[in-house]
């Protein structure tokens, strides 16, 4: 067969539904399923074809459960495509579907192109030509759209952004190629200059990757870390969030016993709350805050909820905590225990003026909705305001990550004094990956550029 790759895609339409399906087709489908599907905690040794299995899909990397699913194996050639197919039926949420897809892609499956399942069905004689004509039309329509080919629905600013980066890289490549093919006329590469150019280009790639991370918040959740000195009511706040909220996704102990973690949904976006409550058992928790784990937790947080005790004056320990979080974006102050007489003198400190404060009583379940509203207003609106055009799909995101990796390597190689002919390999790979996002080929383009920019020739 022409195709020896295994493809995967979300088969159901996006949005919330009762059921969502991720489908794999190709010779590795079963092997991939075996790695991530467990029924009663055990792997299934012999899959029966067309038999519905119930169990859990795990994220292969983190070994955490993604969803409870039904799984069906269709053995080649008795399947839609004529190849081995695995169909995973999970709960119909975009987040779950994307997590399942992402883990099968990590295991070597390739994201299916539009109509690719049908195309394979057709290639394997499962559909005749007339039946498949509609599919061919679809593929043709796609390839006629020149640049838009690989872009799918994402054009406009992302296309412009990526092609600008790509053009800059091509121009660096052109210079190296010209100096290799026309050594008499074109001088050797200015490595210092090239390094700084690459550095700037790679920053642009990082920037767009950062936007993806922000965009990812809509699907993979906003990380909210609850910080505060002991006895300010962090656990009560956590309990209040868990207890009141019906849309809890998980409420299990975190990766270490120090943290409690809960996911809830507000306005269609997942918020993951992480309580550092476990830390209070430590004798000197402030010192413990310096511990790497907490720092990294704070670093990774999208939101910090700094809890203060409303019934007490601001204490030195509070300020120590503040020193840890003052450089973070999205810090909110929860003034807890408002059911007791207010003694907090926070207004005396000018530096806190600009921070949004929410008064609540976690114990009495008061103020939670205000917290949620504030998070919604300050966060979800921002998400909605980012340029959606600059968001990529999973495949494009993978491409950009690869570009970032290649460029980092080129920079390292330039520093190490690696020869030009080797530098071009990784630059080309980066350009090719960018081209996969924009749908262009490189070789002729480089030559055209050389002739346009350098006066070469005998």
């Amino acid at each position: 067969m022409l195709y020896d790759t295994t493809i995967a895609a979300i088969a159901t339409s996006p949005g919330r539904g009762a059921v969502g399906i991720v489908r794999l087709s190709g010779s590795d489908s079963l092997a991939i399923a075996k790695k991530i599907f467990f029924s009663n905690g055990k792997q299934i040794k012999e899959y029966k074809a067309r038999y519905v299995y119930n169990g859990n899909i795990i994220d292969y990397k983190s070994r955490t459960i993604i969803d409870e699913v039904c799984l069906i194996y269709f053995r080649a050639p008795n399947s839609y495509t004529g190849e081995d197919i695995i169909e995973i039926q999970g709960h119909g949420s975009d987040l779950i579907m994307k997590m399942i897809l992402s883990t099968v892609l990590d295991l070597g499956a390739v994201l299916a192109g539009r109509g690719e399942f049908t195309k394979r069905a057709f290639l394997n004689g499962k559909k005749d030509l007339t039946e498949a004509e509609s599919v061919i039309d679809l593929i043709e329509a796609k390839s006629h759209k020149a640049h838009a080919v690989a872009l799918g629905h994402l054009q406009g600013s992302l296309y412009k952004y990526i092609s600008d980066i790509r053009i800059e890289l091509i121009s660096i490549l052109e210079h190296i190629e010209a100096s290799i093919d026309f050594p008499d006329e074109v001088g050797t590469l200015d490595r210092k200059k090239t390094f700084s150019e690459l550095d700037r280009i790679n920053k642009q790639v990082s920037d767009i990757l950062k936007i993806q991370d922000f965009g990812k918040l809509t699907t993979s959740g906003v990380k909210c870390v609850i910080a505060g000195r002991p006895n300010v009511g962090k656990s009560s706040l956590m309990n209040c969030i868990i207890g009141e909220e019906r849309a809890i996704v998980t409420a299990v102990p975190g990766t270490t016993r120090d943290f409690i973690d809960a996911k809830i949904e507000i306005g269609g976006v997942i918020f993951e709350f992480i309580d550092t409550a476990g830390l209070r058992r430590s004798k000197d928790f402030i010192e413990k805050l310096g511990v790497k784990k907490v720092s990294s937790l704070i670093n990774k947080a999208d939101v910090i909820i700094w809890v203060l005790d409303g019934s007490q004056k601001l204490m030195e320990d509070d300020l120590k905590i503040y020193s840890r979080i003052k450089n973070k974006n999205n810090v909110y102050i929860v003034i807890n225990k408002t059911d007791i007489a207010c003694k907090l003198d926070i207004d005396k400190f000018e530096c806190f003026d600009s921070i949004t404060k929410i008064r609540m009583s976690a114990k009495k379940n008061k103020g939670l909705s205000e917290l949620k509203t504030i998070l919604y207003n300050n966060f979800i609106e921002k998400i909605e305001n980012i340029d959606l055009d600059l968001l990529c799909n999973i495949r494009q995101h993978h491409c950009l990550k690869a570009v970032h990796k290649f460029l980092k390597k080129v920079k390292k190689d330039i520093k190490a004094g690696i020869f030009d002919d080797l530098l071009t390999i990784d630059i080309k790979e980066a350009i090719q990956k960018l081209g996969e996002v924009t749908g262009e080929d490189i070789s002729e383009e480089v030559l055209d550029g050389i002739f346009a920019r350098f006066c070469v020739g005998k």
């Binding site: 057709f122 100096s179 093919d181 050797t188 690696i418």
Partner: protein, 616 residues
């Protein structure tokens, strides 16, 4: 009564393509004849008297590994030789020689004269004998017929050549040589032809040049060689220098003021010339901001006062040529011996060829060299070799010999020629190859010589020499994996831990001279050690390129069976159908490479051919 002679292979044209074709055919045991308009111009270098350079040097090494002659000819007749791209990496390093133009002609002519099975004929071929899509011989302009099993056309710029100097133009194959107009007209009956343009600079009189105003450009002071057959000699001690000078703002002004006399800018010349070899007029018009262009002044030989002015291709009138030349430092009083000129000529669209360089429509007719729209002696010679080998194999009823993109630059070139559209003369660049790291000058013998040996183009002695060298390299790499670096290297490279030589060489800043300095190898091992070191340094990248090749090989193994009729495939777009009929791909991979064939077409083709058992 007419006497009929039957040749196995007839080659038309004795330029760089024709010579390699005829030699290869004769060496494969075929009764061969080569026709030329003038035996005194055998393997003439009508433009730059130089061989090699980026990608071209690699091609010469490939020709040599395949038993061709070009490398030996260059090694025997060079007046200067140097390594280019030393600082840009081993994969793109290459040799370039300046050659004595007339020594080169003499060397090649002698080789041809001494070659058994090869007849040399000075005669103009005016037509081919073609019946039922099968070529069976040629007819000369005196009406004599020569019969042959196969024919190789390697006529260069000679088909309907028109030379332009200023607004004057006249028919010529090259300046002062006949154009082959009848053959040109007759070929058009069978082959789709187009028109291209190229040019050459003026030749200057040595006695009128003031070299003291130019920068001297010497060769490398060491023994260098294209051919693995060339033994150590001391010719490098007797090299001639080239000289570097440059155009001035005044030269540019003169040229710009006289564009009304340029056939290029007055649209007298309509065909396209190569972008990589622009005329000086073009350079000045297109790069207005550049106040100066460099000019290399190169001797055409040891016993001639003609100097070649590299960088000054022009078709302006002679007196304008003289006046702008005289604005160039060192050329203030220059006298022109031969003016520069442009030439337009017919070429055959190479997409009509198979990878063997045989025409797809007319059996046993092969085309090689500039007639296929290429430029450059090396490109021509590479094609000549492949066409000659295949013409001979066809005459002998043997399997064809095909070079691929991944095994050689020659294969890359032929693949480009038969699958891509030609809009300008095609020259090879290293950047045209996606496998540049694999296709090096240093490893050409290891890539290709076994195949040449099994064809019969290399002797037992030669292949044993190459195998021995290969073993030495492999053994050295193995040895270096086990052997650690010594105290000297630890010290001079500030390395704290003992590492293997293999690991040491993987670092960017290390090289074979370091090992020599450290006393780990002797100077005589340097050549072997260098190749071993390249293999070590490139290891990871070579593996990556090999993976790419493996993917393609898989696609290539999907062959269409002869019965496939692209007209019968439903659902194909009209243009795609036309392209497929034109290019006649033999494998899915070939079909995929055709410009304009999109994934949807491929899907339709695969589906149809599988359903009807037309694919293997």
């Amino acid at each position: 009564m007419e006497k009929k002679i039957l040749y196995d292979v007839i080659v038309i044209g004795a330029g760089h393509a024709g010579c390699e074709a005829a030699l290869a055919s004769a060496r494969l045991g075929c009764k061969t004849a080569i026709f030329t308009l003038n035996t005194d111009n055998t393997a003439l270098m009508p433009c730059n008297p130089a061989v090699g350079g980026p990608a071209k040097g690699q091609i010469v090494a490939e020709i040599d590994a395949l038993g061709g002659e070009m490398g030996l000819a260059a090694d025997n007749t060079f007046i200067q030789m140097k390594v280019l791209n030393r600082s840009r990496g081993p994969a793109v390093q290459c040799l370039r020689s300046q050659n004595d133009k007339w020594d080169y002609v003499r060397y090649m002519r002698n080789t041809m004269e001494n070659q058994i099975n090869l007849d040399i004929k000075q005669s103009m071929v005016s037509d081919l004998i073609i019946e039922k899509k099968q070529v069976s011989g040629i007819i000369t302009d005196t009406g004599k017929k020569y019969m042959s099993r196969t024919v190789v056309i390697a006529t260069g710029t000679f088909l309907n050549g028109i030379v332009h100097i200023g607004l004057k133009s006249f028919s010529a194959g090259r300046i002062a040589e006949f154009s082959s107009d009848n053959l040109g007209a007759n070929l058009k009956k069978h082959i789709r032809m187009g028109r291209l343009k190229t040019g050459t600079p003026p030749r200057l009189d040595k006695s009128s040049i003031d070299f003291s105003k130019m920068t001297i450009q010497p060769g490398d002071n060491e023994f260098l060689h294209f051919s693995f057959k060339t033994n150590f000699n001391e010719k490098f001690k007797n090299q001639l220098p080239c000289y570097l000078t440059n155009t001035t703002p005044l030269s540019h002004k003169i040229i710009l003021d006289n564009l009304d006399q340029s056939p290029l800018y007055q649209k007298v010349i309509k065909s396209l010339g190569p972008r990589y070899c622009p005329s000086i007029e073009d350079k000045i018009v297109r790069f207005k901001n550049k106040s100066s262009h460099q000019i290399f002044i190169e001797p055409e030989g040891r016993n001639t006062s003609e100097f070649y002015a590299q960088g000054l291709n022009t078709s302006l009138p002679e007196d304008i040529q003289e006046s702008f030349l005289q604005t160039i430092p060192g050329l203030e009083n220059v006298k022109i011996i031969k003016p520069g000129y442009a030439i337009e000529y017919d070429f055959s669209y190479p997409d009509q060829l198979r990878p063997t360089l045989e025409n797809k429509e007319i059996n046993s007719l092969f085309l090689a060299g500039q007639i296929n729209g290429t430029s450059g002696y090396e490109e021509a010679a590479g094609q000549g070799l492949v066409a000659g080998i295949n013409a001979a194999l066809k005459a002998l009823n043997k399997n064809p010999f095909i070079l691929k993109r991944e095994d050689s630059y020659i294969g890359t070139m032929i693949d480009d020629l038969i699958t891509k559209e030609i809009t300008e003369p095609y020259r090879m660049f290293t950047s045209r190859s996606e496998y540049r790291l694999l296709l090096r000058q240093d490893n050409a013998v290891f890539r290709l010589s076994e195949r040449a040996f099994s064809l019969g183009l290399l002797s037992k002695e030669h292949i044993l020499f190459i195998r021995d060298k290969k073993n030495k390299i492999d053994n050295l790499i193995d040895k270096w994996k086990k052997e650690n670096i010594n105290a000297f290297l630890l010290d001079s490279f500030n390395i704290t831990r003992k590492i293997s030589i293999h690991k040491f060489l993987k670092q960017a800043s290390t090289s074979v001279p370091d090992l020599i300095k450290a006393g780990l190898i002797s100077g005589s091992e340097a050549e072997i050690a260098n190749i071993a070191s390249i293999n070590i340094k490139y290891e990871g990248y070579l593996i990556r390129q090999q993976k790419e090749i493996d993917k393609i090989t898989k696609l290539e193994s999907k062959c269409f069976l002869p019965g496939i009729d692209f007209d019968k495939i439903p659902g194909l777009k009209k243009e795609s159908r036309e392209k497929l009929k034109l290019y006649k791909p033999k494998t899915i991979y070939e079909a995929k490479k055709i410009a304009g064939i999109n994934p949807a077409d491929i899907v339709v083709i695969i589906a149809f051919s599988q359903k009807n058992n037309l694919i293997r």
